[in-house]
Amino acid sequence: MSALLSVADAHVAYGKVEAVRSVSLEVGANEIVTIVGANGAGKTTLLSAIMGILPLKGRVAFAGQDLARLDIEDRVAMGLGLVPEHRELFVTMNVEDNLELGAFRIERSKAKASMERVYTLFPRLKERRKQLAGTLSGGEQQMLAMGRALMGEPKLLMLDEPSLGLAPIIVADIFRIVTELRASGVSVLLVEQNAQAALKIADHAYVMELGEFVLSGKASDIAANERVAASYLGFQHEGDSVL
């Protein structure tokens, strides 16, 4: 079976500086794939380029179709969703309007059902549905950003640092929901600094360093890898330096 998303030999550059070099990855249907790595490794840049926000050299195919000529909006309509690191919510609009706009490319009749699904996934959003997005707490904003992306009925949802700056209890909630998404047929490409949590729920993992993938494999194998453990999971032997 061919992969849902396949990226082959991707390069992304800011001017002359290559932030991502020769990266290849695949995400299959019903799969959670995670990219872990330190701050500045190029994870966010890679996701932005897959979404079409940054120009990418190389090949990106989604659901069997080459994405090279498609705009962000077309990719959204094909079922590729991104929840960006900064969430990019419509802060002066209420929760319900934010969600409704997430379904801009979906038939009106289906949008209603989508909203109910999002509200079941995030009951907190339903309580706050008339509140302005800008007045929500960080965790709620993250939920809203995910909810808005889910309104577009994505086949693959890319999450960029969903746990950044959130309280541990909310982080646990968000990771639980990510596994629920897989159960409901949505694949997830998860970029995380919180490698421990990400590797626990992922099927497959890539380790990114300075713009390149240095390791890939089953998430459980990666989690067991000594080097990864030392660098990203916070288990250190005495005398080891922290990266």
Partner: protein, 346 residues
Amino acid sequence: MNTTIMLFLLQDGITNGAIYALLGLALVLVFAVTRVILIPQGEFVTYGALTYASLAAGQMPGTAKLALALGIGAFAFDLFVARKALHARLIVRSFLTNIVLPAIVLALAIYFAAQKPPVAICIALSLVIVAMIGLYLYRIAFQPLAHTSVLVLLIASVGVHLALQGLGLLFFGAEGQRGPAVLSTAFTAGSLRFTGQSITVYAITIAFIVGLWLFFGLTLYGKALRATAVNRLGARLAGIRTTLSGQIAFLLASVIGALSGIMIVPITTLYYDSGFLIGLKGFVAAIIGGLVSYPLTAVAALVVGIVEAFSSFYASNYKEVIVFMLLIPVLLLRSLAAPAVEEEKD
């Protein structure tokens, strides 16, 4: 000064202020959605007014031909952009909106101009012609620059303004024109006389503001426009095309401009270059509203109208100077209140 004169001036000021309010709102809208400071807004006013006046006088307006010419240009742009992946459906749609539509309108304009049409038809044709010009201008002059800085967009905007003003001279000549009143009735209340035209101005302004409020508050496309204004990337990630929002914004702005022109031209003689100054007063109101606040813009527009009416009574030579001087304290206050802003990056 006696109260009668004061009431007169107040009435006059509010009538003008209502028009400035509409123009100011359109400017805020276009800027919020596309980051274009719409200098040619004034040309939409003159084009609307003079197209209407020409049609009513039984002349064929040159703007109808301009619309077709711009439509052909817009179609060429669409073809060029889509050259690598020609989708029949998109091409047909572009052909229909950019060529068939203005061709039909041109034919209608030629047909009706020959027989002095009724006011309603003149209004409808003028609105459609100017709306199309606005839409195609966005496609030709602004959409290709959508990713550039506010400064580049402003320069393009000034260019469009100059081009349209020159074409205005070509189409309508240097002579001023007046159009027939939409409503010719009048009544008096106390010492004030309300003409049908000024009532029309109030009614249409209020109807438009309410209509815009409903459009932005309740409809999906209205919300999409607001979303683009609030967060462009967020809107794109939701699948809302920036170009679609830009088109709607320009369409609304050109219709508002044309409508304002049609409402003024029965009251004042308009020349091919009168629009600029009218648009500029809407701009003053929009600046006072910080180019973001709709209610503040509307209120500021009324103040601008009233100040203008009073200064034209007391110091008519300095009328414009006094109106534009309103900006100085506002800008001073704003620059003191606002934190230093980094040069815009996106």
